[in-house]
Amino acid sequence: MEALNVFIKAAFIENMVLAYFLGMCSFLAVSKSVNTAVGLGAAVIFVLSITVPINWIVYNKLLAEGALAWIHPSMATVDLTFLGLIVYIAVIASMVQVVEMVVERFSPTLYNSLGIFLPLITVNCAILGGVLFMITKELSFGLSSVYGFGAGFGFFLAIVAMSAIREKLRYSNVPAPLRGLGIAFIITGLMGIAFMSLVGIKL
């Protein structure tokens, strides 16, 4: 039951994109068509649900204060948390590199349509944000994997919804300078205001 709560909280109440506004760059740039949006969303789910548990192990077994006690009792006072950012980024970068090679091998069309935003998953704030939130929440290992998957699923839902809206918008008469990117920003703002109403829900 707790796992379900963590999942729903990560996917909806604390939605990475629409509640915390993380991962905006790829959210806005890749949401032009539903097909590419599904591809990027799936890549983000994959990267998040792997990097969050890996970084849980890295943090709790290597970096946190007293975490190195399993090697030798005298190392219980070592605190390596200041290395956190660089280590998390390195783990994320290597995972994204793997994803890039897999996508390039199996789906060249998706690879070309994602373009620069595939390597940019590395610096997608939603990924690093997911890792940092996982650490501040002090979840257990099992729950942190659920949290990673939930956060990725929230991103997936948001980007697919956004791309569907933008496909429909092509048939509406938006003022010419606002077409495309401009109206996408304003819609994101409105969706964000809608998601603010979920903040009060306690699970």
Partner: protein, 220 residues
Amino acid sequence: MSEVAQATKSEGLFSKKNRRLLVDPLNDTNPITVQVLGICSALAVTSSVMNSLVMGIGVTLVASLANLTISSLRNYIPNRIRMIVQLVVIAWLVTLVSIFLQAFLYDTYKELSVFVGLIITNCIVMGRLEAYAMANKPWPSFLDGFGNGLGYTVILLAIGAIREIFGAGKFLDFQVIPNAVYDLGYANNGLMVLPISSIILIGIIIWIQRGFNQKLVDVS
């Protein structure tokens, strides 16, 4: 005549092509409003003009120096580990910037310490590395990074100014809306304090920019 011949033979440091690298990101290829890079930080740090300014300067420095470094190393980086190399270079530069701020601008550093770390995950830096520095010579790459940093700073300052004036009634911490106006029943706009306001403001900035610059209008 000889000058012209020389200019075509070896390109000058500020030839027309190189000047375009510097000026284009201010309008035609602006990182925020056209390339859609660096939106997250534009939402997070624009609550005041001072924060926007320091963030803009930091990103400009990191982007230009990272472009210069990666472009000089580009022939020695294996394609399969390029992202890790790029991030190490970025993290190194961001650490330098934050140590520099600690040494010379300690008060600003205390206010901005979190945001300075955020430069690592700023898509502009890595985006320009991937899109430009990996395929071009060091000097043009440096100009490209510098120009993109400037384009980013301009948009950040505009959003920061609007949010600070309407959200707090101040500009650079000086009160600009006189107390007499508040006495008449004017109140600060609460929406401007939330990050949502900067998304809608960027949308409006895009609208205005494309109104003046017709070639950016999305025809599809």
